[in-house]
């Protein structure tokens, strides 16, 4: 008897997984149809922490939502928007120099950037830093070549409700959230995400 109950449960779980996958693919097809309309809509930029599978036309922090846009200065003094990176998959990473897990993932992130050239929007929580010198020193120590954006007033961090760092969002080419990672990533994880979106 227990054998048959187990088999029914396994088949049921598999059926549910197939159903959600098919549903997701249908959503993606619908999203693509509405894509132009959505991108041209004025973005409200009020990020709301939504459910696990977010509305594809809503700006928010749930998987599938459009990632909230923000504008920050880079280390070179340029001003850049997150939406400038639309068109290709992007990694959005929040970090600070004083955070050990951020230090742990940086060498892997640099290697990943060099290997794949996937755009990385690396947002430093500048307001939480002791000084700009510590940020410069960190970039030099870890030989980082990807662009660093400075969140001097923590505007972007608040918009993304950043709590622990590092926190990373993997965005697809349309700026939708494909995956979210709280805590450090390793190289294998980054490559797996890249291959999913390639």
């Amino acid at each position: 008897m227990k054998k048959w109950i187990f088999l029914i449960v396994i088949v049921g779980m598999l059926g549910y997984a197939v159903y959600t996958t098919v549903l997701k693919e249908k959503d993606t097809a619908r999203e693509e149809e509405k894509q132009l309309e959505t991108v041209n809509k004025p973005v409200t930029n009020t990020a709301e922490a939504g459910d696990a599978k977010g509305d594809p036309n809503k700006v928010g922090l749930a998987i599938g939502n459009i990632a909230p846009d923000f504008e920050l200065k880079t280390m070179d003094g340029e001003t850049k928007k997150l939406s400038d990176f639309r068109g290709e998959p992007t990694m959005l990473n929040f970090w600070a120099t004083w955070c050990p897990p951020c230090q742990a993932e940086m060498p892997d992130m640099e290697k990943f950037y060099k290997d794949t050239q996937m755009p990385i929007v690396s947002v430093n929580l500048t307001k939480s830093e002791r000084s700009m010198d510590s940020v410069k020193e960190f970039i030099k120590d870890y030989k980082l070549t990807f662009p660093i954006m400075l969140d001097e007033k923590l505007d972007a961090s608040k918009k993304y409700a950043i709590q622990p760092i590092p926190t990373t969002y993997i965005l697809d080419k349309d700026g939708r959230i494909h995956a979210k990672r709280i805590g450090p990533m390793n190289y294998d994880y980054m490559v797996a995400q890249y291959e999913e979106l390639k």
Binding site: K2, K3, F6, L7, I10, V11, M13, L14, Y16, A17, V18, T20, T21, A52, K53, I63, A96, W98, C99, P100, P101, C102, Q103, A104, E105, P107, D108, L125, S128, S157, I162, Q163, P164, I165, P166, T167, H178, A179, I182, G183, P184, M185, N186, Y187, D188, Y189, V191, A192, E195, E196
Partner: protein, 224 residues
């Protein structure tokens, strides 16, 4: 706002929690559908699995230190917070393997290793199925439904045939099938062994071990 190694982060990092939950369910599955005729044998294999798991946990930590040794000297916290990657897993498996062989030689161990292998595979396959399902449902990690389907087929096969095929053949054929399917699917879809994105070389080696084990057992049964 705090660094990612706080307790809060530990709870939020679902992958670790899901791995533990999945392995616990793997053990429950093993206990419910044990391929062994007596409870004593099941318990003995559970003890073996606990020893191997404990050894793996310790060697994963050692592997993290060894693979990031320079960073560990500079900042130990950074390395301890670093999520173990496939190289850490390889190091841990190698060290655990050496430890098991050493134990075997030292004590003149007479454990039925194919039975230990079968027990481990039962826990891993159930655990991996649940891990893939939960990751998919909770959207923590994209999980390919094709891998889930493969694990479902393995589980159904295990439940239906565990008592009909000699355990030694079941263990090695299960190991070979598991590795072969991962090896082939890996060329089309990224797969993982829990949170470890192991490469085709790993699956190739596992496949070779499975085939050698099966061949060895067949020859042994013929000569007997």
């Amino acid at each position: 706002m705090g660094a990612g190694w706080s307790i809060e982060e530990l709870l939020l990092r679902g992958s670790m929690v899901i791995t533990v939950v999945s392995l616990v369910f793997g053990l429950v599955f093993f206990r419910l559908f044990t391929p062994f005729p007596t409870l004593e044998e099941t318990k003995a294999r559970e003890d073996d699995l606990f020893t191997i798991t404990l050894s793996l946990i310790i060697t994963v930590w050692l592997g993290k230190i060894l693979t990031k040794f320079i960073l560990f000297i500079k900042n130990p916290q950074a390395v301890l917070a670093y999520p173990a990657d496939k190289y850490v897993l390889y190091t841990a498996l190698l060290m655990t393997g050496i430890y098991i062989v050493w134990q075997f030689k030292r004590k003149g161990d007479s454990r039925p290793w194919p039975d230990v292998l079968l027990s481990g595979l039962m826990v891993i396959i159930m655990g991996q199925f649940l891990y893939g399902f939960l990751s998919m449902i909770l959207a923590l990690q994209p999980s390919k439904v094709i891998y889930l389907g493969f694990y479902a087929v393995l589980l159904v096969g295990l439940v239906l045939f565990r008592m009909k095929i000699p355990r030694v053949y079941l263990a090695f054929s299960l190991l070979s099938t598991w590795a072969l399917v991962h090896f082939v699917l890996g060329f089309f879809w990224t797969g993982s062994l829990f949170q470890f994105y192991v490469g085709p070389v790993f699956w190739g080696i596992v496949l070779i071990i499975g085939v050698i084990g099966m061949t060895f057992e067949k020859r042994r049964s013929i000569s007997h």
